[in-house]
Symmetry: C2
Subunit: 346 residues, 2 copies
DNA sequence: TTGTAAGCGTTATCAT
DNA sequence: ATGATAACGCTTACAA
């Protein structure tokens, strides 16, 4: 039914009885136009419901006005929040955000590199999430601007937006120690990941600050996923009560949730028998019973910051990343009811 | 540093000592090419890391190979799952998904209409979520193909992918009734929404099937958001115990979660004092204590289905929606521990 | 102030 | 089997 060809600038020009360049001048105000003719043009635009063909524009100006957002798992609210932040900031600047959720597609890095090279995407915002090989990311960065979120690749200064994980980790660990906990087990993230390393360092700093030896604190290595939290909680807690840690410090909320689940299934009470803390402050963490003590990361802001960072790079008279260090946003500890003094303390 | 112009087809042609048309023939195999020259071309492509400029392609073929995904709230896992489904199906067919998260941007409908008209988007997948005015959507649909997900606009047959909400609602209500509950209060969704209406109808059918009068079942109208679940649970439950409903049937999980929260805050035990059921089967619902009895909607599949539906419409030698009814996927009830017989039953 | 015309990088139609 | 060449719809010198 609706088979009318979409109007082009030529149509507008004809309707307004001016030349195409005049139309262009009006639309971008990139040239002088007599007020009366400008009106005619705007009228024609309205009447024909004209809006300029973006493919043609892109072709001309050699940029797609679109950026890619690579996110490993949208159902993870931390990522969803970042995505919203990215989207908001980008739309504000007239740039579209293309969703790239690898999921089960291993072809991704190459795929995105191609998207960059074919100028469908001007740049990419990359959330590595539960771990991508740094080499893949670096490879991708060869094809166009890439901004990392919540991750860094030491040695190569790709622009990145991160949180002060270390400070947050130190703070939350200090809190646990202040409650009197001494037998603490850490459930850490993948060793290859920068955030995991930072958080672990923070935990250890807090222990060191008490005069104790950080090496005496057991660290189990997880993968930031809920399942590994469950499995490692079992490993940590399924021992004689006398040796059992009184607190489990998890490097993210998902693993903390897994740990909580294990405790439930094993009949351990939280926080009476064991305290659990997380990291991220996912919205869901507030819904759990007991509520999780955790570290808040300003996810949405990180997304917005990343988008702006990328767009600035793109705006910079078509250039390369400015060699400034990563933008660092700060974290804050959210203390909730899942940390209590260890059993047997006064 | 990386200031080399991206290679064009011309460069490839020169490098391979053939004409541009030959290159094009090879790349799309749209013409006969001698095997030996084809090799030369492919080599050149590899060497130069050429990949065709998509803006130029789009311009030529008058399609963007991109669709929009309008989603009200990504942190809602139901939507996140749908988004993943859409993305997966689209990428499979070589189409990009542009994320459009209205958030606080009221300019959206007009904005998307423009994106369609300017051919940045070939079509749009629309999740109305917690309620958009049907008129806005219809207005949008004037500018290009639109597929609705989890919503329908009665009277206008926009293509849509929905679930059999009514059946699911009937089933879950039947389950509650079978447990012996008789004082049931419904916390429904926004009356303007099709899903809300369907679910309510399902609940009432189940009641009617027992021989009781559906009108005797109180219905409170919420907005599908957690807060309204909390507020309405208070309204339903903050009455003398003798009149208090023994079960709260919520039209979605978010409101059920809100209701659960209220119960906690009010010291009511779930499911001993009051049973709560939801609708959606969000991943988070499985983490709650007690776990929520709910109705599973195949969210990811719905997303994929919607994407395929839209892409089929677009493929149809550039046409209009086929006037078939909406695709209907089915729901299934997930029974979990938040439903128990009412207090005082044998 | 306005219009003409030359690209932007492809694809597709035509000769060769 | 191959190669000119004319669109596609827009921007932007350059002319008028």
């Amino acid at each position: 039914m609706n088979n009318r060809r979409r109007p082009t600038m030529k149509d507008v020009a004809k309707h307004a009885r001016v030349s195409v360049s005049t139309v262009s001048y009006v639309l971008n105000d990139s040239g002088p136009v007599a007020p009366e003719r400008r009106e005619r043009v705007l009228d024609a635009v309205r009447v024909l419901e004209y809006s300029p063909n973006e493919s043609a524009r892109s072709l001309k100006r050699r940029s797609a006005s679109a950026i890619g957002l690579v996110v490993p798992d949208l159902t993870n609210q931390f990522f969803a929040l970042i995505a919203e932040g990215v989207q908001g900031a980008a739309i504000e600047r007239g740039v579209l955000v293309v969703l790239c959720a690898p999921e089960a597609t291993p072809l991704t890095e190459a795929h995105h590199a191609k998207l960059l090279r074919s100028q469908r995407l001007d740049g990419v915002i990359y959330l590595t999430g539960t771990g991508t090989l740094p080499t893949a990311v670096l490879e991708l960065a060869r094809s166009g601007p890439v901004v990392l979120v919540d991750e860094q690749i030491p040695g190569f200064d790709l622009p990145a937006v991160v949180c002060d994980s270390r400070r947050g980790a130190r703070a939350v660990a200090r809190h646990v120690l202040e409650q009197g906990h001494r037998r603490i087990t850490v459930i850490g993230g993948p060793v290859a990941m920068w955030t995991a390393e930072q958080r672990l360092a923070g935990y250890r700093e807090a222990v060191a600050a008490t005069g104790a030896d950080p090496d005496s604190m057991p660290v189990l290595v997880g993968d930031y996923r809920q399942d590994s939290g469950f499995a490692l909680a079992r490993r940590a807690l399924d021992v004689p009560a006398a040796h059992r840690p009184t607190a489990l410090v998890c490097a993210n909320d998902l693993m903390a949730i897994g740990a909580l689940e294990y405790c439930k299934s094993a009949g351990l009470r939280v926080p009476e028998d064991v305290s659990i803390v997380g990291f991220d402050d996912l919205p869901v963490s507030a819904l759990l019973t007991p509520r999780l003590t955790t570290v808040r990361q300003p996810a949405r802001e990180m997304g917005a910051e990343a988008a702006n960072c990328l767009l600035d790079i793109l705006a910079k008279d078509d250039g390369n990343p400015l060699p400034s260090g990563p933008a660092v946003l700060s974290t804050s500890v959210e203390i909730r009811e899942s940390v209590a003094p260890p059993a047997g303390s006064p």
